[in-house]
């Protein structure tokens, strides 16, 4: 049995697996807490992970059901069994992609349930010690913006992890990445603005209303609806986020000149 303690956002996750490839993948992808520093970091989540489940991904649809007090998230390539507090979880996965998506699914459900924050389908870049989020539909340029923004720090290129409090919104160094990697030495930063992207021959930045922002962000949150009470928490946090952070439509060319409009 291989046991690791990893950190995601403010949370410690104790991961158990009997599969060496899973153990190695976890160590490659996440901030691993050395054993000598385990004392005092009580795990927020306990996960058991096994490989050998299902078939390669064919359909992103996740079926969610409840059996004998256990929540079950099932996809072609993974099955998650979780207690309703999302703190004790069993993952069965087909491959590394399934493992990544299963971890995103359950961690996102956990932070919604606990009211900590949201995982948003977006990239996030640091400029002047503040974080700037870039969201949009598939192909809109989220990871392109992150790439064009270098050497600025990239907090995320696929899924931005944000903590939402009544008087503060902070973006964290996200482990859920597609094209970039992180050494987990990046500080979390206050979120200064949200941008909804559109590639264009022009560069144009225009403010959008709070209601429009909530409306357009809700389908960009990594969240699989199954319980109206949890879904209401998503709306509530989206609202709290939008009340504190200004949002803009951003038309951008494939270069970094858009930063002149932002800063």
């Amino acid at each position: 049995m291989h046991i690791s303690k990893i950190q995601i956002g403010d949370h410690y996750v104790l991961v158990n697996t009997d599969d060496l490839s899973v153990h190695s993948w976890i160590h490659d992808q996440f901030k691993v807490i050395p054993r000598e520093q385990w004392d005092g970091n009580t795990p927020d989540l306990y996960m058991n992970i096994r490989k050998g489940y299902g078939v390669p991904l064919e359909d992103y649809h996740v079926d969610i059901s409840q059996q004998d007090g256990v929540l079950i998230y099932a996809r072609d390539d993974f099955m998650i069994r979780s207690l309703p507090d999302y703190r004790q979880v069993e993952l069965q996965v087909h491959d590394d992609l399934a493992l990544k998506h299963a971890l995103m699914t359950i961690y996102s459900a956990f932070i919604v349930h606990s009211g900590w924050g949201l995982l948003i389908h977006s990239s996030c870049v640091v400029n002047g010690n503040k974080a700037y989020l870039f969201a949009g539909p598939s192909g809109a340029g989220k990871s392109t913006v992150a790439m064009l923004s270098r050497p600025r720090e990239v907090l995320s290129d696929e899924a931005t992890l944000i903590k939402i409090e009544p008087d503060r919104v902070v973006a964290y160094d996200s482990p859920f990445r597609s094209d970039s990697t992180t050494n987990y030495e990046k500080e979390s930063r206050p979120l200064a603005a949200i941008h909804l992207l559109e590639q264009s021959p022009q560069i144009e930045r225009s403010r959008i209303s709070q209601a429009e922002t909530v409306f357009r962000l809700m389908d960009k949150i990594f969240y699989w609806a199954h319980d109206p009470a949890e879904t209401r928490k998503v709306l509530g946090m989206c609202r709290t986020l939008t009340l504190q952070v200004a949002a803009y439509n951003l038309k951008f060319q494939k270069n970094d000149l858009f930063w002149e409009r932002i800063s």
């Binding site: 209303s209 709070q210 209601a211 429009e212 909530v214 409306f215 809700m218 389908d219 609806a225 109206p228 009470a229 879904t231 209401r232 709306l235 609202r239 939008t242 009340l243």
Partner: protein, 86 residues
């Protein structure tokens, strides 16, 4: 007479409204007037009280108010945000 459908969560921001069907995860944005009508239906207004309130709020005739409310309420019913009740 109408009532809000079950599992609806509505929030008002800067005069506009966002209504979430928390069971189906469907979201609808309403402009200021639409949100105002929705919030009155949510509060239990009948057509008659809503017409009177709209005339007072927006300075339009009763006929105009009634017509606008019925057209808009029909759209809300079709979107599943409210239901007709006897």
């Amino acid at each position: 007479m109408w009532k809000c459908a079950e599992h609806m969560e509505a929030v008002e921001m800067e005069g506009e409204w966002v209504v979430l069907d928390s069971e189906k995860y469907l979201i609808t944005k309403l402009n200021e007037v639409g949100g105002w009508i929705y919030s009155r239906i949510q509060a239990g207004d009948t057509l008659e009280t809503l017409v009177q309130a709209m005339c007072g709020e927006y300075g339009i005739s009763e006929e105009q108010a009634k017509n606008d409310i019925l057209v808009f309420a029909d759209q809300l019913v079709q979107c599943g945000l409210i239901e007709n009740v006897a």
